[in-house]
């Protein structure tokens, strides 16, 4: 019978192996502290939190989540422990609610291992608190009981830990939040919901127009629906070849008529061409894969969806395999234990036989799981083999021949390939990591030593050089997929250390200005971009996008920062953080090449900056997490094949297109 506790009420626990389930309306951090008979937490080693999730007899999860399961084995706790306090806290940082009053009341349940609820408690009545001690498990005359506490702390995690007698509580609270934040930064965001085609209007100019306004007024742009030659720059539709081919009343292609009666947003009156259909499969065989075999209005969109589908399928197929293998192993261990403890097995061969049988069962199940996995993997590999060659340049690796036929595009593609992802079960099956354009968050290329083998095998200087090379190829990729003159790249290289790596960009002359060096150069570039962000933001807020000064470049900007924080003073750091926060919304993006260790002196001030960027590495490293199952995926950047001149050729074409169409 479940006891529904109210604040202060207690309940006897019938068993010592328990699970504590937490459900909250938003991601929360769950942790636990151990207290002695006076209720004092003796040190940080008595706190289980995402940064140190395991204590004897206690395990909490590593990341913030809306649902938690804390495993507790009260018998395994140290004898000095008389109290276990389960605490919840809201993760700090942008995008998270700051108080429990703003989210649904968290619900905590103490359950047995089979899921039967013993006691439940809903933490109602919280307001400005950002941390709360939810439950307390405590010893009373040799037995354990649970008490509903629900004590909130407006001072947050630090205040709560200090209240439990921990010195250096603020430090510990900061490290907990940091561990949570690094968990969040590791996650690959799920693909955004697809906008209906009519909404997918591209905004090459900085000011993001109100959703009801499909054509942002730009200085000098033609009014919408007028007889324009070529697509109006502010209102180029997304990718609707069907509508365009039919010449069907798309704005800007009205063919000379002065009045366009078509609804300005309804551009998909012609159905998209049907997706390629797979040839009929032989009975009993899976259908042969076909590139573009997914939904979407254009081939690009179909391929994008197909790749995300492959990503999810691979994640789930591997999850099924891993869970089957885990289950087989844990069952075998249980059976071995049982065989060992059965007195009938002490004599004769019965015990050996039982052990043998347990091992066979495990091997049999593992083999069957492997068979299913191999079937799935070979299907996905076959799909990858037809999809990869069919990819358009923005989705393709540098080795793909499509880059040799590169032409400067007229419109922005849907997404860009940042690199490849793979799992250890099959390392040659690579899934492209596609991010939507325009970029929604900046990128941080970690030039520091990471835990990966590849990084350990590479020298520090070599790693820095690789990181900068990665940044340059990524910048080149962005330059190449944007229409001419709609994307500019700025470089801050305070010590001039990256001149060699930057050569492809500087030689081709595609940079907005030579790489800025020295403190003066740093502040000049930052001031220029900050001014742009300020002006565009002001114009957007005031709804007066047409009053921007005519010399303002309305394209998108990328700022490459090498060697951060070298050459940065406090003011410059503040400006950089401002750009990271406010830039993406108005088309200014950051590409940091940095080692977090170098910026250690700044302390936690910079944590939000690192967190807001997508971290990638110059060498293979398994730090990215998928949004479905949470596997650790190994990321590798797109590399130009050895001896290939494709990067230079592409950049030369970009430079030529810029010269042909000067702004």
């Amino acid at each position: 019978m479940t006891a529904e506790l109210v604040r202060g009420q207690n309940h006897t626990l019938p068993q010592t192996r328990l699970e504590i389930r937490v459900s909250a309306g938003c991601p929360v951090v769950a942790g636990a502290t151990l207290g002695d008979e006076h209720g004092t937490v003796r040190g940080t080693e008595w706190v289980a939190h995402p940064g140190s999730p395991r204590l004897p007899g206690l395990e909490v999860s590593r990341q913030a989540a809306a649902d938690h399961r804390l495993a507790v084995d009260l018998d395994a706790l140290p004898g000095a422990v008389h109290r276990v306090t389960v605490l919840l806290a809201l993760p700090t940082g942008a995008g998270h609610p700051a108080r429990f009053g703003a989210v649904a009341a968290p619900f905590v349940a103490v359950t047995g291992l089979d899921g039967t609820e013993i006691a439940t408690f809903t933490l109602i009545g919280l307001d400005t608190e950002s941390a709360v001690a939810a439950l307390e498990l405590y010893r009373r005359q040799g037995a354990w009981k649970v008490r509903a506490v629900g004590q909130g702390y407006a001072a947050g995690l630090a205040g709560m830990l200090a209240d439990q007698g921990l010195d250096r509580a603020a430090e510990l609270a900061a490290s907990i939040q940091d561990a949570v934040a690094s968990g969040l930064a590791r996650s690959v965001a799920p693909p955004p919901p697809r906008a209906p085609e009519g909404e997918r209007v591209r905004h090459p100019s900085g000011p993001a127009p109100a959703p009801t306004d499909p054509a942002p007024p730009r200085p000098g742009s033609e009014p919408l629906g007028g007889p324009t030659t070529g697509p109006a720059p502010g209102a180029t539709t997304g990718t609707a070849p069907g509508a365009a081919a039919a010449g069907n009343a798309a704005p800007g292609t009205a063919g000379g008529g002065p009045i366009d009666y078509a609804h300005p947003r309804r551009q998909t009156s012609a159905p998209p061409p049907p997706p390629p259909t797979a040839p009929a499969a032989a009975p009993g065989q899976p259908a042969p894969p076909v590139a573009g075999d997914a939904t979407g209005w254009s081939m690009d969109e179909r391929l994008y969806n197909q790749i995300w589908g492959m990503f999810e399928d691979l994640a789930r197929a591997v999850a099924a395999y891993r869970s089957a293998v885990d289950f087989a192993e844990s069952r075998m261990e249980q059976e071995l234990d049982r065989a060992l403890s059965d007195p009938r097995h002490r004599m004769g061969g019965a015990g050996d036989l039982a052990r043998e049988r347990a091992r066979d069962k495990c091997q049999d199940l593992t083999a069957r799981a492997r068979e299913v996995l191999d079937r799935d993997l070979s299907q996905l590999a076959a799909e990858s083999a037809v999809v990869e060659p069919a990819l358009p340049a923005p989705y393709a690796g540098w080795g793909n021949p499509v880059w040799h036929g590169y032409r400067v595009p007229m419109e922005l593609p849907m997404a860009l390939r940042l690199g490849d992802l793979h799992l250890p079960e099959r390392t040659d099956l690579r899934i492209p990591l596609l991010v939507r354009l325009p970029l929604e968050r900046g990128v941080w290329i970690d030039s520091g030593r990471t835990a990966s083998e590849a990084a350990a095998a590479t020298g520090g200087d070599r790693l820095r050089r690789l990181a900068m090379d990665t940044a340059v190829t990524l910048a080149a990729r962005l330059l190449a997929v944007y229409p001419a003159n709609e994307f500019s790249v700025h470089v801050i290289d305070p010590a001039g250390a990256a001149a060699g790596a930057l050569a492809p960009l500087t030689d081709a002359g595609v940079l907005a200005a030579p790489p800025a060096s020295g403190a003066g150069g740093v502040s000049a570039v930052l001031a220029h971009l900050t001014r742009r962000v300020d002006l565009v933001q002001m114009a957007v807020r005031a709804g007066a996008a047409d009053s921007l000064p005519p010399d303002l470049d309305t394209g998108e900007h990328l700022l490459i920062v090498n060697d951060f924080p070298h050459g940065f003073d406090d003011r410059a750091v503040t400006q950089l953080r401002y750009l990271a926060d406010e830039g993406p919304a108005v088309g200014v993006h950051l590409l940091m090449v940095a080692d977090r260790e170098d910026a250690r002196d700044y302390g936690p001030v910079l944590d939000p900056l690192w967190r807001s960027l997508l971290r990638v590495t110059p060498v293979a490293d398994d730090h990215l997490v998928d949004p479905w199952v949470g596997h650790a995926w190994t990321y590798e950047p797109c590399r130009v094949p050895e001896g290939s001149r494709v990067l230079e050729q592409v950049l030369a074409l970009v430079a030529a297109a810029r010269r042909a169409d000067p702004r």
């Binding site: 649902d67 089979d114 399928d313 789930r316 869970s323 089957a324 199940l365 799981a369 479905w628």
Partner: protein
Amino acid sequence: MTVNMTKGQAISLQKSDGGTLTAVRMGLGWQAAPRRGLFGSRTREIDLDASAVLFADKQPVDVVFFRHLTSDDGSVKHTGDNLVGGAGSGGDDEAILVDLQRVPVHIDQIVFTVNSFTGQTFQEVQNAFCRIVDETNGQELARYTLDGGGQYTAQIMAKVHRVGNGWQMTALGNPANGRTFQDLMPSILPHL
């Protein structure tokens, strides 16, 4: 042809042409009970929830319910929580799709349950049913009528389990009480 199932009845999930089933859907539909008397248009909200518990060797391994809509392996999918029921048109208000071919090899039983999250007993719910449909051709394989089902807030409806290389379904139809599937675990275990 629909089989109106009775408790304990087992049916083999085989198609009429002899092939085994590859995908099934558990559908749940209901209609909010109208309030009588003054302000008659004000109906009380009834929230029924469908859940599927995946067992490996009698141990629960994964659960698909309104807070976990897709099993980690992707084989079982919940179409999403419906909090108020339908207008009584007879369609499924909540559904759980099971791709039997993709179910991991160690999962040998999947138990479907229905709970009344808002606490009304099945007596108060109108036109409530749950059914199992062959997803490949839309044919209804089994149907339970829940309304008028007595003072119960939950029902352990059916289980599908591995038999040889295929799957078989057994109707359980066991009434129980509970708000979510966790409350039902003790009543599920005897059926495994």
